[in-house]
């Protein structure tokens, strides 16, 4: 025993860096990406603002859905910092509450889509064979489809015909869940392909073979060993997909097929903008700018995360 301790002490001399420094290195690489840092700050501010929306509502003594027909298209004032819309509702409050909806829809949908994609990619990559062929054909087909027209059809489906009670089928809350569901249904493909690729390479690693040789089951290997090591590309792809999803939600809501009023979303605030473009161009301006800023921030954030988490990968 004593000899062994000496030996262990000997080869302990060349101890490697501790793991905290790995995380620090990743963080340092992220900080180097200035646009990503700026985006993270911007998104943080945005999240704080929309989270504080009720505080603003309280301070103004208004509700985002309060209609005030005597005060339509009011210019910015102390009562209405950004003015009012065509129904006399406060634009600032609607932007803040709409931001809640757009951000939550974006994040939740991205997470669900990421989850679907992860599971499909893991199974395809790990089991291979006919399952892989089938899943990848499905993935390729979904990628190949004209997504927006299909989303429009799915958004237009009368849920009453699927057996939902009429008042529930047309309620604004249902429109929220529906939009999350249908976008998630088509948005998982990127993650699925990435995870499959990572799984194909990871399943040949010796630590995976080691787990197999110990008798670990497929689920344990997939979720215990492969998934944790494939998490970087998943994080990057999911972050990038938030932007795409917010764009899709906004266009569907804009077309009147997404989030239904009175719930505000940045997309449906632009709903009437086209008809009102001569009267109140500013109404069309704010929501669009916010969508744009949020989406570009998520895209830069994804870029920065990619550089930080996977420095070997090609910088795009």
């Amino acid at each position: 025993m004593s000899i062994r301790e000496v030996m262990a002490a000997e080869d302990g001399v060349e101890t490697m860096p501790r793991h905290e420094s790995m995380a620090r290195l990743t963080f340092a690489r992220f900080l180097e990406h200035r646009m990503a840092v700026a985006s993270a700050v911007l998104l943080f501010v945005l999240v704080v603002l929309v989270a504080a929306a009720p505080l603003f509502a309280g301070a103004l003594g208004l509700d985002p859905n309060d209609v005030d027909l005597l005060n339509r298209f009011a210019p910015p004032s102390a009562d209405h910092p950004l003015g009012t819309d065509e129904l006399g509702r406060d634009v600032l409050l609607r932007l803040l509450y709409g931001g809640r909806v757009s951000l939550i829809v974006g994040l939740v949908t991205a997470l669900i889509a990421g989850l679907i994609g992860t599971v499909i990619g893991l199974f395809a990559g790990y089991f291979g064979g006919w399952l892989d062929a089938l899943l990848m054909r499905i993935t390729d087909s979904v990628i190949a489809l004209p997504l927006l027209p299909l989303l429009i059809v799915m958004a237009a489906v009368d849920l009453g015909k699927l057996g939902l009670p009429p008042d529930l089928a047309t309620s604004p809350e249902t429109s929220l869940y529906r939009i999350v569901l249908i976008i998630a249904l088509v948005g998982w493909t990127t993650v699925a392909r990435l995870v499959r690729g990572a799984t194909l390479s990871l399943r040949e690693r010796e630590y995976v073979l080691a787990a197999v040789s110990q008798g670990a089951g497929s689920l344990r290997i997939m979720f215990g060993h492969i998934l944790p090591n494939a998490i970087s590309p998943i994080i990057v792809a999911t972050t990038l997909s938030v932007g795409t999803i917010i764009l899709l939600e906004s266009v569907l809501s804009f077309l009147g097929l997404g989030i239904q009023p009175p719930i505000a979303s940045w997309g449906n605030m632009l709903n009437n903008a086209q008809e009102l473009i001569y009267e109140a161009p500013a109404l069309a301006f704010y929501p669009g700018v916010l969508i744009f800023l949020t989406v570009i921030a998520f895209n830069f954030l994804g870029d920065g995360l990619q550089d930080a988490l996977d420095p070997k990968a090609l910088r795009r």
């Binding site: 990628i143 927006l148 027209p149 266009v251 161009p281 069309a284 929501p287 989406v295």
Partner: protein, 317 residues
């Protein structure tokens, strides 16, 4: 190669078939069905009449049977009637398709005319100020909501400046290409701006990858002038993945076209799909959606063929 193409072709056909069933099924779930619409518009119809009509049109049959009936008729060339237009679906579709091809073709040309040189410039000076500026611009282009971009273009060029029409196809009573061109500028601008960012980023990546290859180093070592290295060797090889991505992005481009057409009241396929769905013209919606799917699948097939043709290293069995 031939066998590979046949296999891919059959696969695409299978996808189209599955999609036709899925879309057919979805159409059945659209709000209101044709008989209900009839009943509403004709007060003389009794519920008994409605039931009789449903039986007549086979609407009381199970979905699988109805679909097969529809498919049989469609394969014989009978794609049905458009309710909104009171004309056979195909007659409505034809001119719309041409308009969309015009819009997409022009936008693609504009987008590429910008993306290729800018992407190459970016790739030749990686991590320079120029590169960062280009990347910023490209990401901005990707992140901008197309419908909002269109809206802003209308605000600036139609409302404020009054230079260009806010929408439509041509001035009533006026003819000729010059007039049509005026109506095309804003839609083309908005659609090309929507796709130029992605192409630029892809062009940059492909060019950088190409510049890293051994034959580039060999060419340089042999003393081939840098201009020739870049434009003859590197760019040509970088175009292989770009051509592929072009064909693959047809679906995205079509989605963009739908928004653009809707925003500018441009009478193309995209607006047709949107209007037919919103107007409960499900026959038209079904066929035009399927047709769009067919076009997208075809472009994907073309991408594969191009790839095989351009890259001699790829072998097929």
């Amino acid at each position: 190669m031939t066998r590979y193409l046949i296999r891919r072709g059959l696969e695409s056909l299978a996808v189209l078939l599955v999609m036709s069933f899925a879309i057919y099924g979805l159409m059945g779930l659209m709000p209101g069905d044709p008989i209900d619409v009839m009943v509403q518009s004709d007060p003389n119809l009794t519920p008994a009449d409605a039931a009789r009509l449903k039986a007549l049109y086979g609407l009381d049959r199970p979905i699988g049977e109805r679909y097969l009936n529809w498919l049989g008729a469609a394969l014989e060339g009978d794609l049905g009637y458009s309710r909104l237009n009171n004309r056979p679906v195909l007659e409505v579709l034809g001119p719309r398709l041409l308009n969309t091809i015009l819009l997409m073709g022009l936008s693609l040309a504009v987008a590429l005319a910008i993306a290729v040189p800018v992407g190459v410039l970016s790739a030749l000076r990686p991590y320079s100020k120029t590169d960062y500026a280009i990347n910023f611009g490209a990401l901005a282009g990707i992140s901008i909501p197309v419908f909002w971009l269109a809206l802003m273009l209308i605000v600036v060029f139609s409302v404020q400046l009054g230079w260009l029409p806010a929408g439509g196809m041509q001035t009533i009573g006026s003819e000729g290409w010059l007039d049509r061109a005026k109506y095309l500028i804003l839609p083309v601008l908005s659609l090309s701006l929507a796709s130029v960012g992605g192409f630029t980023r892809f062009m940059r990546a492909a060019m950088m990858e190409s510049m890293r290859q051994d034959y580039i180093r060999t060419a340089r070592a042999k003393g081939v002038p840098e201009r020739r290295v870049v434009y003859k060797h590197a760019l040509r090889n970088a175009m292989i993945p770009v051509v592929t991505i072009l064909a693959l992005s047809f679906g995205t481009l079509f989605s963009g076209a739908l928004i653009t057409e809707t925003m500018f009241s441009y009478l193309g396929m995209g607006k047709l799909i949107y209007d037919s769905i919103m107007g409960n013209d499900y026959n038209l919606a079904l066929v035009s959606l399927l047709f769009a799917t067919f076009l997208v699948l075809l472009s994907n097939l073309l991408a594969d063929i191009c790839y095989a043709w351009l890259d001699p290293r790829v072998t097929y069995r």
